[in-house]
């Protein structure tokens, strides 16, 4: 492991590393947004029907057992497109926590609360928007947070087919073990991926603090 000291390597490759950090951030955000859109829709469509909700969770759970490396390879061999593969696979893995938490959260409203709202003449739309969603929000948010953490990790692994994000540093290092600067690349991969995950986590802590209805705070 010869080569430059880490600090020096970093300042020489500053532009590239910053670019990759940005890419990693953006792709993670796209994927979580996609997963959130699909997952919340699925949850809203199925939460009322126990069997459908379980089926929904069950199917996504089986997909979750499949290693991300295999899933990425599979989708890539079929689509042949790097970006499509990356975003669709990562979003797929991000789906499970979001969908499951949203379903559980939406089902969680106390029947007495629902009855009280009905008695007050609250309609279906307002029931969802003003009663169920606020009650489910902390749980949904927790699902989004887990999904984001997963996403950051899988985007890194996805670099083996798609040259996006920080994972490429890790794969460069693995492909050239023993040559100059692989140590720096591996170290940069570990540090910056962890940093991206931490930043997302911090964002979620702040969002949770400011968006949780006061009564539902835990």
């Amino acid at each position: 492991m010869t080569g430059l000291p880490f600090g020096e390597w970093l300042s020489q490759n500053q532009a590239d590393v910053i670019f990759r950090v940005q890419q990693h951030f953006l792709i993670s955000i796209y994927c979580v947004a996609l997963a959130a859109g699909v997952g919340l829709t699925l949850a809203l469509l199925t939460y009322r029907f126990e069997a459908l909700a379980n089926l929904n969770i069950g199917i996504i759970a089986v997909a979750f057992t499949i290693p991300s490396v295999a899933m990425i390879g599979l989708v890539y061999s079929v689509t042949g497109n790097e970006l499509v593969t990356m975003i669709s696979v990562v979003a797929l893995y991000g789906l499970l926590p979001i969908t499951r938490n949203a379903i559980v959260g939406l089902q969680a409203a106390d029947p007495a609360v629902i009855d009280a709202a009905k008695g007050m003449g609250v309609g279906a739309v307002r029931m969802l928007w003003q009663i169920r969603l606020p009650i489910a929000w902390p749980v949904i948010l927790a699902g989004l947070r887990v999904s984001t953490q997963l996403t950051v990790g899988i985007v890194a692994v996805g670099a083996f087919v798609a040259d996006y994000g920080l994972g490429i540093l890790g794969f460069n290092a693995l492909n050239n073990l023993g040559s100059v600067n692989t140590g720096n690349e591996a170290l940069a991969c570990v540090i910056f991926v962890a940093a991206v995950a931490l930043v997302f986590d911090a964002v979620f802590v702040v969002v949770r603090r400011f968006t949780t209805p006061r009564g539902a705070r835990v």
């Binding site: 492991m1 759970a61 979750f64 490396v69 061999s77 887990v146 591996a186």
Partner: protein, 269 residues
């Protein structure tokens, strides 16, 4: 946590606990039920379809090498061997550690141990393997990294499993004159098996999924073929190997689920 698929999760670890499609507690008391045949049959159909699909195609030399049946079988066995070695090591390390941090005398170190294990999991496995690869390569270094990486799932579940044992049951056991060691071995641990088992399955799945990266360090397994197929840009190769890895993960999880049921005391099955 045994009902992992229906409980909301609040962090990544909880999430990983829910990996197995069959992680829900079984309702029947038998170890093996007819519906357990569903998964292996599906996998068999998928693999047969894959076989005929590949048979039908004109393969070039590289593809023939990538998809050579004998090599694939050898790599699959390596993959299973690596994954099980990791899972067994994880259990051997994490369960005693979990027991240790739940004993009254050593309770204080629990947050420390968990913080350490959490820290290990925050780093990306890809980067960790690359870092280790700078110094060591081969079977055992890869086993060591992935074991360290997967310990948290079993450790947390061991702690949770031991803590959820009813205090009344423990008192009853003590009242019967059982020694602390007997209470642990004959009451606490057996009652915690479903939860510890869920953690062990998570560790196994994590191992199967991470072992391909270990092929860069010469640890063997199906990752060798997968990454070779990607480097040579052979879509058929990628497809075939990816499907095999996916089927392997599903089968191992299925098998681990049956093992878990077998290890669970009949009364709480």
């Amino acid at each position: 946590m045994s009902a992992a698929t229906t409980e909301p999760s609040t962090d990544l670890q909880d999430e990983l606990e829910g990996t197995g499609g069959g992680a829900r507690p079984s309702t029947g008391s038998s170890i093996f039920a007819v519906r357990d045949l569903g998964l292996p049959l599906t996998v068999a159909v998928v693999l047969a379809a894959l076989y005929f699909y590949i048979q039908d195609r004109e393969l070039d030399n590289i593809e023939v090498n990538l998809l050579n049946v004998d090599t694939l079988i050898r790599f699959t066995i390596e993959h299973i061997y690596l994954s099980f070695t990791i899972a067994v090591l994880v259990i051997l390390i994490a369960v005693p550690l979990g027991v240790l941090v739940t004993r009254p005398r050593t309770k204080r170190v629990a947050p420390l141990v968990l913080a350490f294990a959490n820290f290990g999991q925050a780093a990306p496995s890809l980067g960790l393997i690359a870092l280790v690869g700078l110094f060591y390569t081969g079977f055992w270094p890869v086993v060591a990294v992935i074991t360290a990486y997967a310990i948290l799932s079993v450790l947390r579940n061991t702690i949770a499993g031991l803590q959820q044992v009813d205090r009344g049951v423990l008192d009853a056991a003590k009242g019967m004159g059982m020694s602390p060691a007997a209470v642990l071995l004959r009451v606490e641990l057996p009652l915690a098996v479903p939860i510890i088992g869920a953690g062990a399955r998570t560790a196994l799945i994590l191992a199967v999924a991470t072992v391909p990266l270990g092929s860069f360090l010469g640890a063997g397994g199906l990752g060798q073929n997968l990454f070779a197929a990607i480097k040579t840009d052979r879509a058929v190769g990628i497809l075939g190997i990816a499907v095999i890895i996916a089927c392997l993960a599903l089968l191992l999880d299925w098998f681990a689920g049956i093992l878990q049921r077998w290890a669970t005391p009949r009364g709480i099955r």
